[in-house]
Symmetry: C2
Subunit: 94 residues, 2 copies
């Protein structure tokens, strides 16, 4: 595969992964805003399942050499940090 | 992206997805063999989560134009059929 086409596919793959990470953040934000209990087990389950799905996507992209392991890990870490911040902000408001 | 390189990446993507589907089947087979109760909620949960992970991978591959929607769906359908057969065979033995 030429460098040029690989980099095109890589960019697309990375953009899709970022989009999916943002969707998870939005989903959790909506749940946080509308649920009275962020300690609800259902919330934890939804989050765990979504994070697992995203980590499978990232792993798949890494195995296809579309995304580096480092960038994939950074993407997951950033989402986790954003979720923690969101969680803390919501707890303070209630 | 040239047709040739796209087809190479497609083959690799499809092979990885098939590999992951087989891993789920093996995992469930091991669970079936070692658990006395395939009706166990934990078993259902593991299966649901694994299937969700695979469906996210397939969806990602489809969005990258590496796998056709039809082939992606066929892959999931086949795994579901195999799991049903495995489930039925195990229930008969017990």
């Amino acid at each position: 595969m030429s460098l040029e086409t690989l980099s095109g596919q890589s960019e697309k793959a990375y953009a899709l992964l970022k989009e999916d990470a943002d969707k998870i953040l939005k989903l959790i934000e909506v749940q946080m805003t509308n649920l009275t209990m962020p300690q609800c087990p259902l919330y934890e389950e939804v989050l765990d399942t979504q994070m697992f799905g995203l980590s499978r996507e990232i792993d798949f992209a890494v195995r296809l050499n579309l995304v580096s392991e480092e960038n994939g890990k950074a993407l997951l870490d950033r989402l986790e940090k954003q979720l923690t911040q969101l969680h803390e902000a919501t707890l303070k408001q209630k």
